[in-house]
Subunit: 442 residues, 2 copies
């Protein structure tokens, strides 16, 4: 039995996950991102307070040990809580920021890292949501250029293209949201403005307006509403925004960066991946300071399968001020579910054995083992049945395990230095010299 919200990953699931991770990893490495890992256990003071009230509630903490544990007896809950020293990784971004500061003498800027590790959140488990799950992140810190955003968009495109998932990437910029809030007379209420906007998918436009009203944001002009609700390509929407926001100082950075991004991408286009500017996209506005991305799979019934953005002060919380970072994340579990929905997995990723050597008796099994080792040394995946069980049992095992071929090596075969090879799908079989086995199978 397992703790609530955790799971075993059996071979077929693992094969799918590895297929996804390998595809993404290859794209990361082509873009000169290199892998790092941080410990599962961080100091509690590193993590606590970094993810809001929800984070502190859902974070897994580590019980003190030894004398520290004994000192918790007969103490108030406040005392117990304030004596917790360690907690489990809750995301990959905060540990990455901590690591950049700790390892500043061992890295060169711009530093591009990818990280594929599990995180733990004691959330209410539900379909597709687990308390231990894998995050795949790519981030770069150091000198900031919009080329980095373009690169990350290309990484999304190439990864999902390789994985055979058609996607749409939605894009926004914090400075445009600031500009729109200013235009709407709510520039002093940017947080409430974006929190409301972020709920658009769930509560609709009227719900958003109601939230804004309660937050004291004045009624939105129709032309601002129209901008907020428009989605479209950069080429189409950017000129409209440049006009609408030309006199709004806070929008200047956003307009400039998106114009640069548009130039880069018109020279190096994103292929069949749709990139849409969506001014209602407001995720992560409490930490993102520049571009914001969100990816959804077209034709699949699933929320976001990736997201990211620019944070101008990634490491400030750990004492290194004004170091800019920009990054993206891939949702491994959701990508797997989407690929299952869309039938995007190839058929042959399971890495089942390609051939089973049946075990007829000790003398023959010794020859079978020798032949199996020869095939294995040539890279073939082989299985040798470990005991001389009934043939039906061995064949049943092969069929259940999706092993397509059976090698039969009885006394006759052994004495004639032959093998009999049976195709378990068709039942066809033939006998030939042991020396020819690899040629016949490969």
């Amino acid at each position: 039995m397992l703790p609530k919200g955790t799971r075993d990953l059996l071979p077929d699931d693992m094969a799918k996950r590895k297929y996804i991770v390998n595809a993404i990893t290859e794209v990361f490495e082509q873009h000169a991102f290199r892998q790092i890992e941080t410990p599962a256990i961080e100091l509690n003071k590193t993590l606590s307070g970094k993810y809001g009230e929800e984070g502190d509630r859902l974070m897994f903490k580590v019980l003190p040990r030894g004398e520290k544990l004994n000192s918790l007896a007969n103490q108030s809950i406040e005392f117990i809580k304030s004596n917790i020293e360690e907690a489990l990784r809750y995301d990959l971004t905060v540990p990455f920021a901590r690591m950049v500061v700790d390892q500043r003498n061992h890295i060169n800027l711009p530093f591009k890292r990818y990280q594929i590790q599990n995180v733990w959140r004691a959330d209410r488990p539900q379909k597709g949501r687990f308390r231990e799950f894998t995050q795949c992140d790519a981030d770069v810190v150091g000198p900031a250029g919009i080329i980095q955003e373009a690169e990350l968009l290309h990484i999304y495109h190439r990864s999902f293209h390789t994985l055979n998932i058609p996607v749409e990437i939605r894009l926004n910029h914090r400075s445009l949201l600031q500009g729109l809030a200013e235009l709407a007379g709510a520039s002093d209420k940017l947080v409430a403005f974006t929190i409301g906007l972020d709920k658009l998918d769930k509560i609709g436009w009227n719900g958003v307006e109601e939230e804004w009203r309660q937050a004291g944001i004045p009624d939105i002009q129709p032309e601002v509403k129209e901008l907020l609700l428009t989605k479209g390509t950069l080429e189409k929407l950017l000129p409209i925004l440049e006009k609408a926001l030309e006199s709004i100082p806070s929008a200047k950075r956003g307009l400039l960066e998106l114009r640069q991004l548009s130039s880069i991408l018109s020279n190096a286009p994103l292929g069949n991946t749709a990139l849409k500017l969506d001014l209602s996209l407001a995720r992560g506005l409490n930490y993102y300071t520049g571009c914001i991305f969100e990816v959804s799979a077209l034709g699949a019934d699933m929320g976001s399968i990736g997201g990211g953005g620019r944070y101008d002060d990634l490491t400030g919380i750990f004492g290194w001020k004004d170091l800019s970072g920009v990054g993206i994340s891939f949702g491994l579990d959701r990508i797997q579910l989407v690929m299952e929905q869309l039938n995007s997995f190839p058929n042959d990723i399971g890495l089942n054995a390609e051939v089973l050597f049946a075990n007829m008796d000790e003398a023959s099994s010794i020859i079978g083992f020798k032949l199996a080792q020869e095939l294995r040394s040539k890279g073939m995946r082989c299985e040798v049945y470990p005991v001389a069980a009934k043939m039906k049992k061995q064949i049943d095992f092969a069929v259940k395990s999706n092993i397509p071929f059976l090698v039969i090596l009885g006394e006759n075969e052994r004495l004639n230095q032959e093998v009999t090879l049976r195709n378990l799908a068709t039942g066809e079989q033939s006998s030939f010299s042991q020396n020819d086995l690899y040629e016949k199978l490969k």
Copy 2:
């Protein structure tokens, strides 16, 4: 800052670890082992009591959350301890046994799995020993045949051969130790007999004899001592043991299995890997019931880099009696240290970028980005400097990051649709058409 005994793994370390893991994984898969993962967090009742007193002391436990946490206030330490529900994975074998029982309807026997995951032990940190470290295990459960032991020995051989580490595998069998204890008149004191023997490396033969004396084991006859201290090939030692132990019932199984193993391996030899029978090898005797293995690297200053054995009742603790298992483990950290000592790593595993596109100005960087994307789509690892920094700074970055080539794309190059390619090691550079860049670099 990090908790005691934990560490960040930076790109160069990760590259080495991945190199090792990929080599071992490929061999596992050729031998029809498939990967699984189990959760980091198991129920405390699954793990506690499974690793002796030391395990219970060193295990990381998870702090209860919410109401459960509040209920710990003003309670005795016994109450607190008995209300711990979750603990972190301490090894891979117990979770594997638990998983085999939980997932019995989803697996076919014999079930061969490999698992490469971290485990946590609050041991005193020291050089090369961390509180979070990676185990790589391959085990098979189900019908038991000595072919499985032969297969695992081949996995060791092929893995270390691929990794360019010459190794010696030491082999023993619990039944032979029982036979020797019986021969020594200590058959009722097998545990004390093997605990003493296991310390031979540390305390020498006289120390072992002293331990035995204190445990009430009678003085050992010279011929038993000689057997215990002899190491040698199966071919050489087995006939001697067969003679010495022929009348000892408890040795029968060991002699039979090693004779079978010897037949298999004489047909499918272990290449340049030395296999030695070592009757003083007594590791893990509290759980191993058949063969025992231990691997050391030749010419390296390091203890065991792998070990394993047969346990006839792997899953009994979880209610599935008499299911046999046999498995081996690879010590990833120690293998990395050995390979560094022996210079066994190839030079080109770091996956640094192969080329850096310098950033001269916005217009040229747009062309550079386009060219970089073309190279990346052909599988080349490229870096584009994100901002138009001073050339010296960009070159310094390339050199520090071990990037061998620099692409320079200034206004001249852009207007002529050329690039300048500089070899940063030699300083040589030449200019040519942008269309020829891939051909020149590949």
